[in-house]
């Protein structure tokens, strides 16, 4: 792969460009995530200590926490949220967090569903670009 392009399902529209950060496991954005700094704090998460700010976050889904929308909206409000989010499967809590942040703060962080097969091909460091219609381009780091 040098560069691939495909269409993703759009849960929240937005334009974004960012370096991929691939999470190996689902994440709770409440309890497992510090929304003040955009850092993963779940002690059991493989990417504990990583900061998602400005990165294109790739993850299977969020972990079943009702607090996930608030964690995402708060991180976006503080400017430490991800540039975009691509999920293995559709996730209501992630979508709602980004929708509310877009309405309140005018920051459109795209949330996409790319499926688990495409997700598995992505590596941290790849460049991810997306437009409002969900046209996604992934480029290997030079």
């Amino acid at each position: 792969m040098n560069s691939i392009a495909f269409n993703a399902q759009v849960l929240n529209p937005g334009e974004a460009r960012g370096e991929a950060m691939v999470l190996d496991e689902p994440l709770s954005f409440w309890g497992g995530f510090d929304a003040r700094t955009g850092t993963i704090v779940d002690r059991h998460h493989p990417q504990q200590g990583s900061c998602v700010a400005g990165r294109f976050l790739i993850l299977p889904e969020s972990r079943g926490s009702a607090g996930t929308p608030g964690g995402i909206a708060e991180a976006i409000r503080r400017g430490v949220g991800p540039a975009g989010i691509a999920l293995g499967k559709a996730d209501v809590n992630v979508a709602v967090g980004a929708m509310v942040a877009a309405a309140l703060y005018g920051v459109a962080v795209p949330v996409l569903v790319i499926g688990d097969a495409e997700r598995a091909r992505l590596r941290s460091g790849h460049l991810v670009e997306v437009d409002r219609d969900g046209h996604l381009r992934i480029t290997e780091a030079p």
Binding site: L11, W30, A35, E74, A90
Partner: protein, 434 residues
């Protein structure tokens, strides 16, 4: 996901999307519709009640969201009650504003905003203990996990577990995606748990219901469990214990108990005429293991007792008060009971508050002991009769939970050290054959 045509909408739904009732109601409708698309619902379902959790402070975004709704003309479609808050409006000393001004003032403002939006300010995680609860078959919005499980299982009202903002948006438009536990298919029993190897006497103990719930959550995860062999006269406090423990340790949002809960008059009805996907004969050994996993602390000096998770009911107070009457919590031990304002008013009417105060018991309302700094500052052994409290405590607080019965909590508090009712902890009591 631009294909909104796949979800059937009413005229008013479309008008809301078009902004006919303002920006706030438009956002609420967009959020509900997006949730419907994601869950694959073909249509929306009217609801008649909501219990929301977005009133629990979780950063400034929560305040901004509520403010946006209030400022832009949002109006609730159904009676909407509030879950616990981070702070108590009644006892401001529980979490003094000067110690944490941003969070405490934010949490207070959030409570004010939801009152202004028209919510019933009950501030409780056990809203089903208050008069005016929904009925069998009602479609509602629940958000707090134990309340969702209790409403679904014990009352037979229908709700999924709605996350932050979606809970409020659904209460505003009065509609939810018709999916999951709103549908008959979603409520079908999947896994059968038989209790025939567990002694009948144990099955009547409160402790057993907590332990069973904890085990149920672990094994069933998100599959609907059906319990066969629960005593037919299990009371609501015991069913609350199962609900809270199973929702905490797994993702159980609905369980059936044959002959006890309204959608399970018999096995066949609980499984809707189908065969269980899995059958489990609960063993004494697995219950003992589940029981013991709820205590990381062992015997020794006791720093605190924390009960009332979920909120203590009137009938639980009716058991606690005679146990405390004439006794005194040991110096150096704290005793907290979390409950709602509504239940406190009933307790005061009985003249019980004086007895509890004289005994050294502190009653916390509007919030939960997890969130009070006195508890957060605690580093020692904390005894609780709640499997849910014991399950979450090691992650949320730096304490060693010791799980036991209400009677053990009271006796331990009076002695200032962990006391065990040996009768209950013998292996034979749990059905192990010697």
């Amino acid at each position: 996901m631009s294909d909104t045509a796949s979800v059937q909408l009413h005229e008013r739904d479309r008008a809301l999307l078009d902004g006919a009732e303002g920006e706030a109601m438009g956002l609420a409708m967009r959020v509900v519709l997006r949730a419907a698309e994601i869950s694959g619902a073909a249509r929306l379902q009217d609801i008649c009640f909501a219990h929301i959790d977005a009133c629990f402070y979780n950063g400034q975004a929560h305040v901004d969201f509520a403010q946006f709704m209030v400022d832009n003309g949002a109006r609730l479609a159904v009676p909407t009650w509030t879950n616990t808050s981070l702070v108590s409006q009644v006892d401001t000393q529980l979490r003094p504003e000067k110690d944490d001004p941003v969070v405490v003032s934010g949490a207070r403002l959030l409570m004010d905003l939801y009152e202004r939006l028209g919510c019933e300010p009950v501030w409780t995680c056990a809203p089903y203990q208050l008069p005016g609860r929904p009925c069998l078959g009602d479609h509602i919005v629940g958000s707090e996990s134990n309340a969702v499980t209790f409403y679904n299982s014990v009352i037979g009202a229908r709700t999924n577990k709605y996350g932050d903002y979606l809970d409020v948006c659904a209460a505003l438009v009065g509609r939810v995606p018709y999916s999951g536990l709103h549908t008959d298919e979603g409520r079908r029993g999947r896994v059968l748990f038989r209790l025939d190897r567990i002694p009948e006497e144990l099955r009547r103990e409160d402790l057993f219901h907590h332990v069973l719930g904890h085990r149920l959550g672990r094994v069933a995860q998100s599959r609907v469990p059906v319990i066969e062999g629960l005593p037919l006269d299990s009371n609501e406090d015991q069913l609350k214990a199962i609900s809270a423990a199973a929702a905490a340790s797994g993702a159980v949002s609905l369980f059936h108990a044959v002959g006890v809960t309204p959608e399970a008059p018999d096995l066949e009805t609980a499984f809707q005429g189908r065969t269980p996907e899995d059958e489990i004969s609960v063993s004494p050994a697995e219950l003992i293991e589940a029981r013991d996993s709820l205590s990381t602390g062992t015997g020794g000096p006791l720093e605190m007792v924390a009960i009332g998770t979920p909120h203590f009911s009137f009938t639980e107070f009716a058991r606690l008060v005679p146990l405390m009457d004439g006794r005194r919590v040991h110096d150096g031990t704290l005793f907290y009971v979390s409950t709602s304002r509504h239940v406190v008013a009933l307790v005061e009417k009985e003249g019980w508050m004086e007895i509890l105060e004289a005994a050294g018991v502190q009653v916390v309302v509007d919030t939960c002991t997890y969130f009070t700094p006195a508890v957060r500052g605690c580093r020692g052994r904390v005894m609780t009769n709640s499997a849910k409290w014991a399950y979450y405590a090691p992650g949320l607080l730096a304490v060693e939970p010791v799980f036991g019965t209400l009677e053990e909590c009271v006796e331990s508090a009076a002695r200032g050290e962990v006391w065990r009712d040996q009768r209950l902890w013998r292996d034979e009591t749990w059905g192990v054959r010697s």
